[in-house]
Symmetry: C2
Subunit: 433 residues, 2 copies
């Protein structure tokens, strides 16, 4: 029997993808087959290039330069429709997802909602120490930092000035290291000449890490290199330091307290609230323990991708919660769904599904202007070469983003002038507190 005909008479197969991040978007893009009616749902209208979010938070780039409307990214693919909506409940048994504005059934469900900032059970800290997950987070941090310097300049008492010019970053992973480095550059280089009463270069940037070293996923010598570099840049790195409480402008440590107007939380993430109650195994952080093909145990028609899952791939490699892994698994899941359809058409039977194999293209973290650490293909890089690699990889990533030319220009410009263009405070609550 001719599969094309059979496909033609079938009603389209409904694939519902929740989340337009790297995993969900890549999955949708690879379901190029008119027999699939793909619906991509995201509560925001844009796909976000998260690896550069810290640049928006530190006024290096403007929000639209690292975000792209999801519709635009799939505009050419007629079988994909995009909905700006949010899932409020998932019913695996009846294969339905309730959105705010409607309820959708599915034949295949791909969950790619990602994780949210986790405060280890201290949700009340969020208000004082935003994480760095969304453009709102980034612009909030940017406005907060810039406003703090503005208020310090407009003649306050020395104690307040000290607090206003202190920035604390909690968490020594890549995000924390990149934020701390960028904040140090912002105060010591970008803002240095712009004030008359205060000296921004005297601002304190303090990086708190509970563990014994920064960048724990990297080799120890790279961790050490990052620490030394950051301290050269003026960042106070505090290792083996635990945060016990966070209040308004206040961080209480197990060995002291810090008054800081700006507090950034880069210490942890937690699973999506929506998946907590699903009848599927999860790890302590709420990540879904998926099967080797990316599907949920007991629900072969449901998949999960991205940093919301926990999976050891077919080569025994623990799949990290990074963008490349999310894209790869998204593509893999699309392949599984396509293969299943074609196999069933031909043999009217299901086949064993392929297990996911993660291709580690390496990991890197930038410490600041022209300095980074990278590990790829068993080799370690650091300093300027690693930074060039970082720059190259991230510009490659941006391909497909219309903004890439503008972004490159921005970086070239900022690199030589130390000026940053996105130093704009746009929120209404100017002069609050």
């Amino acid at each position: 029997m001719n599969s094309a005909n059979e496909g033609a008479v079938d009603r389209p197969i409904r694939v519902l993808i929740l989340g337009g991040g790297f995993g969900g978007l890549e999955c949708a893009r690879h379901l190029k087959d008119d027999r699939f009616a793909v619906t991509l749902v995201d509560k925001r209208n844009h796909h976000l290039f998260q690896p550069l979010l810290y640049q928006v938070a530190t006024a290096g780039l403007s929000a639209p330069e690292i975000a792209q409307p999801i519709r635009m990214l799939v505009r050419g693919q007629e079988n994909v429709s995009v909905l700006m909506d949010e899932a409020v409940s998932i019913n695996l048994a009846e294969r339905r997802v309730e959105l705010r504005q409607q309820t959708l059934g599915y034949d295949y469900l791909v969950m790619a909602m990602g994780v949210k900032t986790g405060y280890f059970g201290h949700g009340e800290w969020a208000e004082h120490a935003p994480g760095l997950k969304s453009l709102e987070d980034a612009t909030r941090i940017r406005s907060g930092v810039l406003r703090a310097f503005e208020r310090a300049e407009s003649g306050v008492d020395p104690v307040s000035r000290e607090r206003l010019m202190t920035m604390v970053v909690v968490g020594g992973g890549p995000t924390g290291v990149e934020m701390a480095g960028a904040l140090a550059e912002l105060s010591r280089k970008v803002l240095a000449e712009d004030f008359r009463r205060i000296r921004p270069e005297t601002a304190h940037v303090i990086l708190i890490e509970a563990g014994p070293r920064l960048l724990p996923t990297f080799a120890p010598d790279l961790s050490e290199y990052a620490r030394v570099r950051l301290e050269k840049m003026g960042v106070q790195v505090r290792l083996d330091t635990r945060v016990q409480n966070i209040g308004d402008g206040l961080v209480e440590l197990h060995n002291g307290r810090l008054e800081a107007e700006t507090i950034v939380w880069a210490a942890g993430v937690e699973g999506n609230a929506l998946t907590k109650n699903l009848p599927v195994p999860q790890d302590r952080a709420g990540r879904l323990l998926v099967r080797p093909d990316g599907s949920l145990p007991g629900f072969p028609e449901v998949f999960a991708v991205g940093d919301m899952i926990s999976l050891t791939d077919k080569n025994g490699v623990k799949v990290p919660g990074v963008a490349p892994a999310a894209s790869q698994l998204g593509r893999h899941v699309a392949g599984v769904i396509l293969a299943e359809l074609r196999h069933r058409e031909r043999y009217h039977a299901t086949q064993e599904r392929a297990a996911f194999a993660y291709l580690d293209k390496g990991s890197m973290a930038t410490i600041g202007r022209s300095s980074a650490v990278a590990a790829a293909f068993g080799l370690k890089f650091r300093g300027y070469l690693a930074w060039l690699m970082w720059l190259f990889v991230h510009l490659l990533f941006l391909v497909g983003f219309r903004n890439r030319i503008a972004v490159v220009l921005q970086w070239v410009y900022s690199y030589f002038t130390w000026r940053r263009g996105a130093r704009i405070i746009t929120r209404e609550d100017v002069n609050v507190r």
Copy 2:
């Protein structure tokens, strides 16, 4: 007697400038003399290139591309310090200005706070029909328009869909014409291919003007040309139409009513609340009637510049409330202050102050892609040539703005692809209403 010495022994002369718009910024930049201690106060941290604000509102440009930190613009001028603060009261008798965070005395005061959107006594309309004065206004309109299309796409009833896809612009001046044209392009070109269920090109863009023609400050044939062009672009132009009430998604006219999710107010401005109670003459709209040199009657040490004043210059020309006029008067006032100091040093006497002469470099309004109207040096232009003039002039304006390269790229890109990069909804209240 050597004026330099005398200047050196004097305490610095305190010049307080309220507002970092075109007028205030230009005044500060021309007070290049260390005998002046210039303080520039603005409630925002950025100088805004208002003529392109409509581009941000219609997703053509991102906010930072038309805004620049005020500090950065005067960083080289040591005698100028910038404060991000807001004046709450002005005491002309005691020469003091109370800011939110402190009170400042002055020897010279330059008021350049601009005007705010005026609703002819119907302040309650503001909530439903934002004006276009600030980046917050622009991003609010942008998010509203984009979200309306998103909600229309996510399957609502036909009536709601009609409302969601209707945009009303009130006011047929340059801002209203530019907004209507840009909204028509946004729906008919930029968004056209991005949706599956709705057809954005069927969206309604309605431009309401109470008077008999658009662009009343231009020649009648240019007004007519603008009307014809806009209607070709799909804009419904309604002349001689008065707005009687504005509610949530509703515009009541003297001859009917319109249901529209997006309502933009470009119909009027009113004087700054701060100046209303000052003991100085004002016109009905609350504009200050300044003397020929730009000072306030009875207060020679106090000046006002920009669109918050009403002045007929020495050539009998009514000074318009546009950016070039604001810059010119700001420069003129700086000149008056400088001349006064030098004259007093030399002759220990005051001199007659120079009267302001406005140099009209022409006025223009863009109707849409590659079409505009312009009047300059007694000549009239329209169509493509006028648009090129408009583009040229506005790019010139942007000189000094780091972003100009990026802006040019954006425009070139958008011109050929109809894509717009800033189509990002960044406010938290997604799915409200």
